[in-house]
């Protein structure tokens, strides 16, 4: 009986090792520290920088309508957006979705949100001004405001996303995709797709793009806690395009171990949201699989196999590792 109790409360290190689960110490010591140069971290945290890398390389990102960096530019806001009816304003160094304004339609003086609220130009200017002063940025530092295309979420996630936009995260090692998951917001996470705050994640099969597995708050699950709909069996559209974009971004950022977050637009397909230099490890629980065997597989490849033209050939093999 004691043995059964013990099994329920924790797992032995030997068993975790046998399943190839990557612990945080090993992730930092053996993978992140050696291949992620510290000087490149600011690139990853900066949304504007990430966008500026993606655009020339043809990696899809939400279209930027305007970048407001100085308080003086706020007066010219309406001209800057060139008549776009719907747009999103977000802080360049924000986190967790704070400070984001979504505008569904406007007439130059009154702005309407998708939820039905409205505010006037003065309110908008004030909000952007506080954004520039760093109210929503990490560490309170001065920031810029990005005005960009509003993403209409693809309807494949309709039954499993509550209150927010789901995103797809792909973890890449040496620019080869190793594991992927889709993060689905819940009521508990207040519409944010952040696993720490209670969102649900479903694993995505690396080769086919179909969802399976599932995790919520570090426990394995199979249905969405709010809607009860199964999280497995959904097919992510344009999956190959997504993997290629992720791989290209990883090359451009020159980071060896990285997570790239995508949002699926109804018309455009996957667009890059942001990159993450220290992606979390709950993706393993969603996949019911450890990362270590896949990372080792990549380490065992000759350099020419890891070069851009041939690296995607590894994906089916990676997906099949037990």
């Amino acid at each position: 009986m004691i043995r059964h109790l013990k099994d329920w409360f924790w797992i032995r290190p030997r068993e975790l090792h046998a399943r190839g689960v990557l612990g945080i110490n090993r992730r930092n010591g053996d993978f992140v520290l050696p291949v992620n140069p510290r000087s490149h971290y600011p690139r990853v945290d900066d949304k504007l920088f990430t966008k500026r890398i993606c655009e020339p390389r043809g990696i899809p990102v939400p279209k930027t309508y305007a970048v407001i960096e100085k308080q003086g530019d706020i007066r010219k806001f309406v001209e800057l957006i060139h008549g776009q009816q719907e747009f999103v304003i977000k802080p360049g160094h924000g986190s967790g979705g704070r400070g984001i304004i979504v505008v569904a339609r406007h007439d130059g003086s009154t702005f309407h949100t998708p939820g039905g609220n409205q505010f006037n130009l003065a309110d908008l200017r004030y909000h952007v001004s506080t954004m520039l002063s760093g109210l929503y940025s990490l560490g309170g530092q001065a920031d810029c405001a990005l005005v960009e295309q509003r993403i209409i979420c693809h309807d494949v996630f309709q039954s499993v996303a509550v209150g927010g936009t789901p995103d797809v995260r792909v973890i890449l090692y040496r620019s080869v995709p190793v594991m992927a998951m889709v993060r689905l917001p819940t009521r508990g996470s207040r519409g944010r797709a952040n696993l720490h705050q209670g969102a649900v994640a479903a694993a995505v099969h690396l080769h086919s793009g179909e969802t399976f597995g599932g995790v919520c708050k570090n426990r394995a699950i199979t249905v969405h806690p709010d809607t009860g709909a199964p999280v497995a069996g959904l097919q992510i559209p344009y999956w190959d395009k997504l993997l290629a974009a992720a791989s290209g971004l990883s090359d451009a950022l020159e980071m060896g171990y990285i997570g790239v977050d995508f949002v699926l637009d109804a018309t455009q397909g996957p667009v890059v949201l942001e990159a993450n230099a220290r992606p979390g490890l709950a993706i393993q629980i969603a996949n019911r699989q450890g990362l270590v065997p896949r990372l080792r597989f990549i380490d065992a490849q000759p350099p020419e196999q890891l070069a851009p033209p041939r690296r995607m050939e590894l994906v089916p093999a990676l997906a099949a590792i037990p």
Partner: protein, 528 residues
């Protein structure tokens, strides 16, 4: 060079450096010998008293470093009492104050003293100038040293009549006190006037008469209490006098007949006269002193000549610095503890040094007051956060408002504690406040950027690790060892390197990934 290959070499080098350092130090200590004529002694105080009021106070004079004596070790125990910092005085004595609550109390102290006849130690206070205020103080009459009493004035006139210059005059006063006063009954009053009138005195009365006469003659004089250092299970304090002439203090002991010079075995403990232990609000005070000679042992030989190697010897520093040094030397162990908790157990904290700093601030504060202040400030912080959120303020002004509220709350709390007679000391308040403000700032940032739950998790972790660090910092035995052998921290660095290279699972991960046991291996999805 590959980190994996370099690590064992670095560890070996550190271990080697540590062991070699310790070995060399021990060897050097064995080589030094006690100079001929120097002696080592242990002086023990044992004070019992009963506090009637809840604000009973005890002031105890401690022996201090002087030219012929050096206190090289000190152990004080005062269970159930609270130490108070007294304002530093210009006198060369050291005094410590304690506040006791109602009931029976015992205070004991042990001092290991190195006496040298050749006057080769550096005195911890330089006592060669007398300010006008101090001079006036030392010429003033007191109830026991009446300078304007007729008996004193008459004796003075009589002595003046027969004396020449000032130096001679002091000798005449000395001779008078030494030979003209007969040994007397202790039951009779022993203040200067009564003694001179009666013509009989105890040793204390004799020296009081001497000091009163000198003061009446406008020569700054003071009573010095101390011990004659010789083996005695029941040592009695002895009082002699010092007068200030020609930019120096000259000792005079009319009881034993020493004028201008006293033996190096006279250990002065208090320079403003009276008893070694002074109490207010305490009854049934019993004081016991004992002096025992110590065999020549380690810890006392610090050579008189300065050598550069003396810099690596921390025990050479005066005793007051020892406590501060021991605390500083224990801080890296706090860092080690934080590293173990984070990397091996998996408990995360705000920052790397915050738990150690919190523990440090609790060392100076009384831990009960400290916890109350900590919780109150945290509660205030959380409450004010919800108000401040509505004002939509920028980060730096917002946090400064929190600091202002914290300051106001702390001042109010200190005042409240004083009102109910639990006054904390100044240090108890200042250091914790600085550290608490830092912690609150991080707590807010964490609760905003992640979630309140996560911030509380980090806070709990910080407190848990902080408590462990506190226990380490209180570990006097290890502190003393580190003071004697600071190179032991090479071992600390070696352990930290090993922890830094640890890539195994954290204990919390064994809990976090427990579902891997229940689920079958491999993705449960159709084959590609």
């Amino acid at each position: 060079m590959n980190a994996r290959r370099a690590t064992p070499w670095v560890i070996c080098a550190l271990l080697f450096a540590g062991v070699t350092g310790m070995g060399l130090r021990r060897h050097a200590e064995h080589q030094l010998q006690l100079t001929h004529g120097d002696t080592l002694w242990r002086l023990t105080y044992d004070v019992d008293f009963r506090a009637e009021k809840s604000t009973a106070r005890v002031r105890v004079a401690f022996p201090n470093d002087a030219k012929t004596c050096r206190v090289f070790r000190q152990d004080v125990s005062y269970a159930g009492m609270r130490a108070e910092r007294l304002r530093p005085s210009a006198l060369p004595s050291r005094e410590l104050g304690f506040a006791a609550s109602r009931g029976e109390h015992n205070f004991s102290a042990r001092f290991d003293i190195h006496l040298s006849p050749r006057a080769r130690f550096r005195s911890s206070a330089s006592d060669t100038t007398l300010t006008a205020d101090a001079r006036a103080e030392l010429l003033h009459g007191t109830p026991a040293l009446q300078t304007s009493d007729p008996a004193v004035v008459q004796t003075l006139q009589k002595l003046r009549a027969g004396a020449g210059k000032n130096g001679n005059f002091v000798q005449k006063v000395f001779e008078h006190c030494r030979s003209e006063l007969e040994p007397g009954d202790p039951a009779l009053p022993q203040d200067a006037a009564a003694v001179l009138q009666r013509g009989t005195a105890t040793p204390l009365g004799r020296v009081r008469a001497f000091v009163a006469l000198c003061r009446a003659a406008k020569i700054p004089a003071r009573l010095v209490t101390g011990f004659e250092v010789k083996e005695a299970l029941q040592a009695q304090p002895h009082t002699w006098a010092e007068i200030f002439s020609d930019k120096a203090w000259e000792p005079f002991d009319p009881e034993n007949g020493f004028a201008g010079e006293i033996p190096h075995t006279f250990l002065a403990v208090r320079h403003d006269g009276g008893d070694v232990v002074r109490t207010t609000g305490a009854k049934q005070v019993h004081t016991g002193y004992s002096i025992v000679r110590l065999p020549s042992g380690l810890g006392a030989y610090r050579a008189a000549h300065r050598s550069l190697l003396g810099i690596v010897d921390l025990t050479r520093l005066p005793l007051e610095m020892h406590e501060a040094m021991m605390l500083i030397l224990l801080l890296p162990l706090g860092g080690l503890m934080t590293a173990i908790f984070r990397t091996i157990i998996g408990i995360r904290t705000f920052g790397t040094f915050t738990p150690t700093l919190i523990a440090l601030s609790f060392i100076f504060a009384d831990w009960r007051t400290g916890i109350v202040v900590f919780l109150a400030v945290l509660a205030l912080g959380l409450v004010s956060r919800s108000f401040l959120d509505r004002l939509k303020l920028l980060m730096v002004p917002r946090l400064s408002i929190v600091l202002t509220l914290v300051v106001l709350l702390i001042c109010l709390s200190v005042s409240l504690l004083d009102y109910i007679h639990l006054t904390p000391s100044a240090q108890a308040v200042l250091l914790p406040m600085v550290i608490l403000t830092m912690t609150i700032e991080r707590f807010y940032l964490a609760s905003e950027e992640d979630s309140v739950r996560f911030a509380l998790q980090l806070l709990t972790g910080t407190v848990v690790v902080g408590v462990c660090c506190y226990l380490i910092l209180r570990w006097g035995a290890v502190g003393r060892m580190l003071l004697a052998y600071p190179e032991m921290h090479f071992f600390t660095i070696a352990v930290l390197i090993l922890i830094g290279r640890y890539t195994g699972y954290r204990l919390t991960e064994l809990f976090r990934f427990r579902d891997f046991l229940a689920t079958k291996p491999g993705p449960d999805s159709p084959p590609p």
